[in-house]
């Protein structure tokens, strides 16, 4: 496929796979952030980032299949994310009150 | 709803009510548990009254659907094999409760509730006629016993409880697998229907399948029996368990294994059972002699009795796998005998423990001077245990050995060694505990039996004499059932007669 041909095709719009690729990239960035950051709030934001990446896939597939279900899943994910954010942040507050740190490396009560 | 259902239900109801009684009402819980178990016992006696000798199949049957899919029935019923074992359970539970009266002060409510739950499970195991139901009851029994050992036991109770639990689970998992396999073949868990399908040839197993299924069942039961070399959980569990726990464990729970062998292994897999009999019998005989020898050198009374159980249960397994009428009858009778006499031994050891707070033989001596009646009861029990004629064990041992002699005389020769050794270890222990000079410590801790203790011991002693002197009250219905089992296994008498001749030849 030569470039001109490709450009011609792009007139029709953007391939869905590009959206999916973007979603994958965002997701990977989220994973990387989750793994390298220590601040619990930032880690939390990386999770949100991953959720958003997944949402994007849902929407892209919804468009692809011309179905509304994907939107609804996204909707539910948002609800869950909102609930999670509320509870999660409340937990962070409590943890911070008890241990005066936001560094997840120090929050390792699960060990043993 | 018939009397059998009532016997199964009463302990369960008692268990639930006991849980609702406030913790503070300690004595009421004891009375309640005793009353309920006695009631159960009385109701269970109506089973004996109503049992019709000579009737075909089981009696007091209830068969209702319990779970729709897969179809599992609440199918219970009794026959000559299970009747006495159920009576044994209901007979011993009140005694177990009564003997724990003062010994258990800590968490009395749960303790007595667990005893009732145990009774529920035991009666259920012996009554269940649906393989799945059987398995459920089998596991129900495990739970209260685990806690009885783990909470109210002695120093190493956790180790013992876990060992007991894991050993038994290891076996029963295999049994579950076998039960499920049978379900895939027969399309039902109903034991009567499965047996029927076997006999009409609807289920045909390959030789390998039959052997594997037999082994799966056998292993579960052999661990419970326990058969050498799967017995090492028993001494630990006995030593650590509270007295009532040891009593129920030795007297009834071990019988679950031997009951299973007779109930399931022989009728369902007759060929595999017969093929595997030689090595099983050898293990049983090793168990008889080995258990006796190890019992002889135990410094701890409960361990000694535990190893003696290994020896005695060896006789039961031996009897079962002789495939003779006498051997099988003797084995079943020996189950009951062992329940009574070893139960009594644990009971009396428990009395000693309550007085002196030690299970070591060496911390006793001269008890006969301080507590003559206790010594006499112990002596009678000891004699029953070593198989003195006119006491119960003799009848069972005689029949088992007679059966073994008919099957293969060499077996009888080696198994009889156990009879000699049993006298060695029991009398030696008796001498060291009861005879000799009375030491100061023993003297001050050895009151004579209390009324409650008499009430516990006398029924057992009475049963020893009754079962030893007039076995005809018990054996005929057992015999009838065993004849059916032998017949189902198509083990015709010519085969046995040949085996008998062979045995005679071997002896020459």
């Amino acid at each position: 496929m030569d470039p001109s041909q490709a450009l011609e095709m792009l007139k029709n719009g953007v391939p869905t796979s590009w959206y999916l690729t973007l979603s994958a990239l965002l997701f990977s960035i989220g994973v990387a952030g989750f793994m390298i950051r220590r601040n619990i709030i930032t880690v939390f934001m990386c999770i949100e980032l991953m959720l958003n990446a997944v949402n994007l896939s849902f929407i892209a597939f919804a468009h692809q299949h011309k179905q509304v279900s994907g939107h609804l899943f996204t909707f539910f994910v948002m609800v869950v994310a909102a609930a999670e954010a509320a509870v999660g942040l409340a937990i962070i507050l409590t943890v911070f009150k008890n241990r005066s740190t936001l560094n997840i490396d120090e929050i390792n009560t699960l060990k043993n | 709803m018939n009397m059998l259902d009532l016997v199964i239900a009463l302990p369960a109801i008692g268990f639930l009510i006991a849980l609702l009684i406030p913790r503070a009402m300690d004595n009421f819980i004891r009375l309640f548990a005793l009353g309920f178990s006695l009631l159960t016992f009385v109701v269970s006696l109506t089973l004996v009254m109503g049992f019709q000798q000579g009737a075909a199949g089981q009696q007091f049957v209830t068969n209702v659907v319990w779970i729709q899919n897969p179809e599992i029935h609440y199918h219970v019923g009794i026959d000559g094999l299970s009747l006495w074992l159920i009576i044994l359970s209901t007979f011993l539970t009140p005694i177990a409760i009564l003997l724990s009266w003062n010994a258990i002060q800590d968490r009395a409510k749960e303790y007595f509730a667990f005893l009732l739950l145990l009774e529920f499970g035991l009666v259920g195991v012996f009554a269940a006629w649906d393989l799945f139901l059987f398995y459920v009851f089998w596991e129900v029994v495990l739970v209260p016993m685990y806690f009885l050992i783990g909470i109210w036991g002695h120093d190493r109770r956790i180790y013992a409880a876990v060992k007991f639990f894991l050993y038994t689970m290891a076996g029963s998992v295999l049994m579950l697998a076998a039960i499920i396999f049978l379900y895939t073949q027969a399309g039902t868990f109903d034991y009567a229907s499965i047996l029927d399908q076997f006999s009409t040839g609807k289920i045909v197993l390959t030789h390998l399948q039959e052997t594997l299924l037999f082994l799966a069942f056998f292993l579960a039961f052999a661990i419970k029996v326990p058969l050498f070399p799967l017995h090492t959980w028993l001494p630990d569990a006995h030593v650590e368990a509270p007295t009532a726990g040891s009593l129920m464990l030795a007297s009834v729970m071990l019988k679950m294994g031997t009951y299973g062998l007779v109930r399931f292994c022989l009728p369902m897999f007759p060929t595999a059972a017969r093929e595997n009999a030689p090595w099983i019998v050898i293990l049983a005989i090793i168990g008889i002699v080995y258990g006796a020898l190890v019992a002889m050198v135990q410094p701890n009374m409960k361990k000694l009795v535990a190893y003696s159980s290994v020896s005695h249960l060896g006789f039961v397994v031996l009897g079962i796998f002789t495939f003779t009428q006498a051997g099988l009858d003797g084995a079943v009778y020996q189950m009951l005998n062992h329940g009574i006499s070893t139960g009594a031994l644990f009971l009396l050891v428990g009395f000693l423990y309550e007085r002196r707070h030690s299970l070591e033989i060496s911390s006793y001596g001269g008890v006969a001077t301080a507590a003559p009646w206790l010594s006499i009861l112990f002596l009678i029990t000891t004699l029953a245990s070593i198989g003195l004629p006119t006491l119960n064990n003799f009848v069972g041992e005689f029949l088992v050995l007679q059966g073994a002699a008919q099957a293969n005389f060499t077996w009888a020769v080696f198994a009889s060694l156990g009879v000699i050794l049993s006298a060695c270890y029991m009398l030696w222990m008796y001498q060291r505990v009861f005879f000799g000079e009375l030491s100061e410590e023993v003297k001050h801790h050895m009151p004579e039996l209390s009324l409650r203790e008499w009430a516990c011991a006398v029924p057992l002693i009475f049963m020893m004499l009754w079962m030893g002197m007039y076995s005809q009250s018990f054996i005929p219905i057992v015999s009838e059932q065993n004849a059916k089992i032998l017949h189902q296994g198509k083990m015709s008498s010519p085969v046995r007669a040949m085996a008998a001749v062979q045995g005679v030849n071997n002896a020459r």
């Binding site: 690729t21 909707f75 507050l93 | -």
Partner: protein
């Protein structure tokens, strides 16, 4: 047109996402995350998901991120203290990350080679009406369940937050 908008907002989203991860201060991360969400909302619009795009802006970029910023402020979270990472992480971290990215892209391309094209206006089923219809017919039960979930979350948050009052 599509290509332009896609490229622009995809680029913004990626930059912001990288920023979320790389910024030392949580506040910066949070603001970058708002950027990601905003640009995603535009992409949703491109995909014909009007309702979701609005919800994204209102719920995510608005409510959730405000919550984050509240917490950051409340805790006065500063720059995270930096400690040395293990040499394995240093050595393998970045290559592994690139490998992961590559793997995912390769996957997308491999398994979805001939997907269709996204053209604004091709799909109009994402309006509030359609969503609402689906929500109250086919997805009624999950919808109700989410409401319970939200309720639980509220109560949970209150309970957790109450604790610090004692």
């Amino acid at each position: 047109m599509d290509l332009f908008f896609f490229s622009l907002f995809a680029f913004i989203a990626l930059i912001c996402a990288v920023n979320v991860v790389l910024q030392k201060h949580p506040i910066s991360s949070a603001l970058s995350l708002v950027g990601v969400m905003g640009s995603l909302a535009v992409l949703y619009l491109l995909l014909g998901a009007e309702f979701v795009a609005m919800a994204q802006v209102i719920v995510y970029a608005g409510a959730v991120m405000v919550l984050f910023i509240f917490v950051i402020m409340l805790l006065n979270a500063g720059i995270e203290e930096h400690r040395g990472r293990s040499w394995i992480a240093k050595l393998l971290g970045f290559p592994a990350f690139v490998a992961l990215l590559g793997l995912l892209c390769w996957f997308v391309q491999r398994f979805f080679p001939n997907t269709g094209f996204v053209k604004f206006g091709d799909f109009t089923g994402g309006g509030a009406q359609e969503i609402g219809y689906a929500l109250f017919t086919e997805y009624l039960l999950p919808f109700e369940v989410t409401s319970v979930l939200i309720l639980i979350a509220i109560i949970g948050a209150i309970v957790l937050a109450r604790k610090e009052l004692d």
